[in-house]
Symmetry: C2
Subunit: 281 residues, 2 copies
């Protein structure tokens, strides 16, 4: 038996056919234990996970990152609503042979994780939500304008506009994350196409404006919520709302950070996430 | 050289004369490194620190717990305001030969830590604030009524009224803390006398009602803030205010917990505090 793969940069992209759609994923980490499935942010692909975070989690458990429908190297058409994205994520996780897993849902991935937790609640053992918001979060109503302003920037500034604050420290730390995302040289994902981006914008906006249907009070799993001090996209204060509504949640705020909170402080996140997944009940 | 003392139950009470007042303290843990000085909550003495927390910190650093003026086995008259309590704490720390330390300020001890951080800012390297609030926190205005209701309870219920929520889980976990506080059989502190309790009630109430003089924005150290979801004494939401005003703060909320947040989850607190003190800048 080979040694477990512990370096995300070396994890090959694998493919899985689900009902005629070809899905891309990467798998690494310990061979035994409950896997943590990683659900990515708006526009993000398999190449947008900070390797410090994936590698840190992989030391203690299996880690599986997936591209949802129409994202990165996955086929199919990206849905324009979170409910259908959650349906697709369940299909992929099930097709991978997983009956129970932990989940790391980041931003849009956190919406999907909340949706699955309240519609197929036996799939998850524990839930990590980063840089996300409850349904009805007002900030999402103006998401298209935020995206428009971000896309007016150039190069790395598009990334920093969303993921960093304007402080020197935050920009420096998130620039380092951005550079880590470029370390993988081959077998990279395609960038997410414009039609998929547009569908995601619609889904994110709807999360803020559609009627609230999700009952967070019914989430029975242990939940760990992480947010930055200044996440304009989600409005940082809405993480306190998540915390208050979910019965058994830890809430961790990181300083001087925006939507990229855990990318800015990957070491502390890995420490907290591994402790949560290993020990918190 | 003897092995380091790592068990708080075995740490003898020591005494130190400062300007004619006899102060009680206990010291344990690693012999080298920056010590963490522990400042206790309303009515609490050296016997009110959860040994899991003290022992967990002592594995990685020197730990020194002190009784402030008029508390437990310390002599002198307890001041009725936080400013004088901070002045006394500085005197004790200085008399112990400490030029720079970390601080764990719990509740009233957190008020003292905030005061020292903004008046003698070079004393602290890093700051942990648990179950505390900024100056002007409205909940403190009704502190005497809360104390009155708590003191109407009997036995362990006095403790649970303040430190636990009404849930079965919280009561069970905080009951376990309460029992750990009784493990030490000899060399215990005197309980804090009624005159000192009255002075502390005045100081706590004033913290909520006096004009705000402390500039939290000037705290330049890394700060870790911990709070429970339902701390009626401090109003849990005021920890988010601390977080927003202190430039470089981590904020951790624990679920289904009241004023005894870190006593309810001592293992996760020890993990987070040691990581913060060892690694966070």
């Amino acid at each position: 038996m080979n040694a477990p793969m512990l370096n995300y940069a070396d994890a090959p992209t694998q493919y899985l056919d689900v009902e005629g759609v070809n899905y891309a994923y990467r798998s690494l980490g310990k061979r035994s234990g409950i896997p943590v499935v990683c659900l990515q942010h708006f526009t993000g692909t398999l190449d947008n996970w900070d390797p410090i975070i994936i590698n840190g989690l992989a030391k203690e458990r299996p880690v599986i990152a997936i591209d949802n429908t129409g994202i990165g190297n996955s086929g199919g058409t990206t849905p324009d609503n979170v409910q259908d994205m959650a349906r697709d994520a369940i299909k992929i996780i099930t097709a991978l042979g997983i009956k129970k897993c932990d989940v790391l849902g980041y931003s849009l991935g956190g919406f999907i994780a909340q949706t699955i937790a309240t519609t197929k609640s036996d799939l998850f053992r524990k839930i990590i939500l980063v840089g996300t918001a409850p349904q009805g979060a007002k900030a999402l109503g103006s998401f298209p304008h935020l995206v428009e302003r971000a896309f007016q920037q150039r190069g790395i500034e598009v990334y920093l506009y969303i993921f960093a604050t304007q402080s020197e420290r935050s920009r420096k730390l998130v620039t380092a994350t951005y550079q880590r995302l470029k370390e993988r040289k081959s077998d990279r994902d395609k960038e997410t196409g414009m039609l998929s981006v547009q569908a995601q914008v619609k889904a994110l906006t709807r999360w803020g404006t559609d009627p609230v249907t999700i009952k967070l009070g019914e989430i029975h799993q242990p939940v760990m919520i992480v947010q930055g001090s200044n996440d304009e996209m989600m409005d940082s204060d809405t993480s306190l709302e998540l915390f208050k509504q979910i019965p058994n949640a830890l809430l961790f705020y990181y300083p001087d950070s925006a939507h990229g909170s855990f990318f800015q402080y990957p070491e502390i996140f890995v420490e907290q996430a591994n402790f949560f997944l290993n020990h918190f009940e």
